[in-house]
């Protein structure tokens, strides 16, 4: 490996792209169009009613009445949680951000209090995520309902009390979910079509033939192309993050895992495209095959919608697609800042990238038959 030769090819590729006004326009316009389209379609997730979750562990008429009070408030949509479920694991698993728990003994303590006005009632537990914007609205609704109820019961003493606990939930908006997906698919299409275009173009022009008579090796050229594609991927990523931040106010976690994800994604798809071009030498056919690979992957790998919401057999297919692991890993890193989960998804992509790189270097050659 000679770094000077690798740099030379990188530099020429860069010059070539940035002097091609059409090419540069479409390279960087595509992700923005996608974001605008999907961002605005799904932006209006403005809630007309507020979802709250209630678990009635007490199971008495008194606790039932309280639940009914909440259910009668138009602004609230009450979801009941089975009394036997462990509430903390339920919150964790379902990313529920606002739960009222009526503890066991609430009814008994309430009866005692109402009959002789002594002692205290068992407080109702409110578990909520203060970082969720709708939490404050829901909290004030719940507070006013309890205040009203207390007034009706005694007039003075707060019979029903709230024990507020904050929980951290994995909540995110659609656009937050979508941005890592847009990055994943932009990087994929950029690497696949960039490589297909470069390879078929340079072959058609006889530049590969010329290069094969000079000291540069195929490996050096491939590495150079990968670095070039990585550079473009990073530019597109910065662009997407900026647009997301400016137009949608989305700020995601930018950490080393997210960068590692992009690095291996570029290597994986550049390598894959190289192998495609090895078998389909004509530009148009190679492009068609590129589309056949990237298009279904976009929809099946959870770039636009959560894979969990797809039919089961499609979920099975998703799990063999490299882009699925990119999307999962990217979201683990960028939305949840979860290094470990992100790493778990990085491993299959890294293995795939190394495999196609080795196949690409070994089986593609400049030599003519």
């Amino acid at each position: 490996m000679n770094p000077r030769r690798v740099y030379s090819v990188f530099y020429v590729s860069l010059r070539e792209l940035f002097r091609d006004k059409g090419g540069i326009f479409f390279t960087f316009l595509f992700p923005i169009l996608l974001m605008l389209l999907f961002g605005f379609i799904f932006q209006d997730s403005g809630e007309s009613s507020y979802d709250i979750y209630v678990q009635d562990q007490d199971g008495t008429d008194i606790s039932g009445n309280l639940t009914m009070t909440f259910k009668h408030v138009d602004a609230l949509k009450v979801h009941m949680i089975d009394a036997n479920r462990d509430i903390d694991s339920y919150i964790d698993k379902n990313d529920v951000d606002f739960v009222l728990v009526i503890p066991e003994g609430y009814g008994v303590s309430m009866e005692r209090m109402l009959s002789n006005m002594t002692g205290t009632t068992v407080p109702i537990i409110l578990k909520y995520d203060p970082s969720v914007s709708s939490s404050s609205v829901k909290r004030s609704i719940v507070h006013s309902i309890i205040q009203e109820t207390n007034k009706g019961l005694s007039g003075a003493v707060d019979i029903i009390t709230l024990d507020e606990q904050s929980v951290v939930t994995e909540h995110f908006t659609y656009i937050e979910f979508f941005i890592p997906g847009v990055i994943g698919l932009t990087v994929m299409t950029g690497a696949v079509f960039g490589t297909i275009f470069t390879d078929t173009e340079l072959r058609k022009k006889g530049i590969f033939r010329k290069l094969s008579t000079t000291p540069i090796s195929r490996g050096e050229f491939i590495l150079s192309n990968m670095i070039f594609q990585l550079f473009l991927a990073l530019l597109a990523t910065v662009e997407i993050l900026l647009v997301g931040w400016i137009l949608f106010g989305v700020a995601l976690h930018l950490n080393p895992m997210f960068l590692a994800m992009i690095l291996f994604e570029v290597f994986a798809f550049t390598g894959l495209a190289m192998i495609v071009v090895k078998f389909v030498k004509e530009a148009q056919a190679a492009s068609a095959l590129g589309n056949a690979i990237t298009f279904p992957m976009m929809f099946l790998s959870g770039s636009f919608f959560d894979v969990d919401s797809m039919p089961h057999f499609l979920q099975v297919i998703a799990r063999v697609l490299p882009l699925y692991y990119v999307n999962e890993g990217m979201r683990d890193a960028m939305i949840f800042n979860d290094y470990w989960e992100s790493f778990v998804n990085l491993v299959p992509i890294a293995i795939f990238a190394v495999m196609v790189f080795i196949i690409g270097v070994t089986f593609t050659t400049w030599k003519q038959d």
Partner: protein, 326 residues
Amino acid sequence: MKRDKEEADFEHIIKVRGLVKTYGKVNAVDGISLGIQRGEVFAFLGPNGAGKTTTVEMIEGIRTPSAGSITVLGKDLSANQNWIKARIGVLPQEFSSFDNITVRETLKFYASLYARSRDIDDLINLMHIKEHTRKLYKNLSGGLKQRIGIAVALVNDPVIIFLDEPTTGLDPAARQEVWKVIKGLKSEGKTVFLTTHYMEEAQELADHVAIINHGKIIAEGSVDELIDRYGKGMVLSFTGAERSLIDFLKEAGCGVLIGEKGCNITEGKEGQVSLVIENKDQLMGILELIRGAGLGYKGINVRRSNMEEVFLSLTGESLKEGGVAP
């Protein structure tokens, strides 16, 4: 310098023995042997599909031979590819470069691929392309593109330069430009391996010619040797000839003067007529006859037989007549 010494001690700068390239059951190159001397312009001449490019690409290391051996600068090609690559310059067939890269950037790019390269400004002066250095490759004319291609082949200051069909598709003026450049290379002491299907190109430039047809070399030597051996003496041609002169040539010329090898008269448009003459006596004789009969014409031209006729005689009719291929 060490490099020069390493390259010096051998008889042929390129030596090819029994080279074969097989595609399926077809031998595209069928047992070719060649020896090229340092400093000569070698023309590998043949019609399209004869196997020229396949042969030259095997010598350049782009294709792998099915059989045979290639020695370049005294070293076996298969074992010394990188060493040889550093010392040869190649203009591939139908060469093209990066569209949106300027001429200077193109030269700098290719120079950067070599450990040792020539000064770019020197090269620009040598190729007379100074006024074009800031132009993008895609905006250059065909002839200029070929000149840039040759300049690119020179960036590593190679000992041997391969030019694969350097003037195919160029107009006559552009072809002249490229020829001038190739003559300049020769005067610089470079060895030039040229493939072409233009007979006049070989005649104009080459010290040493090999003619290839159907994957085999059918004749080899200097241009003079080939014309002497396979040419047909002289060609006498008239322009603006009267009908009576043409008829006279067909009768008297064919019947009396040109006996042994048969009569070879070609009639062109608007009174153009040419005939092959074997020697000076025949020429003088026929001119005397024409003068005596008072036959009219506008112009007259006598020239030596050329490579065009050599090739015709090698591959066309004369081959059927009994064969002259060695």
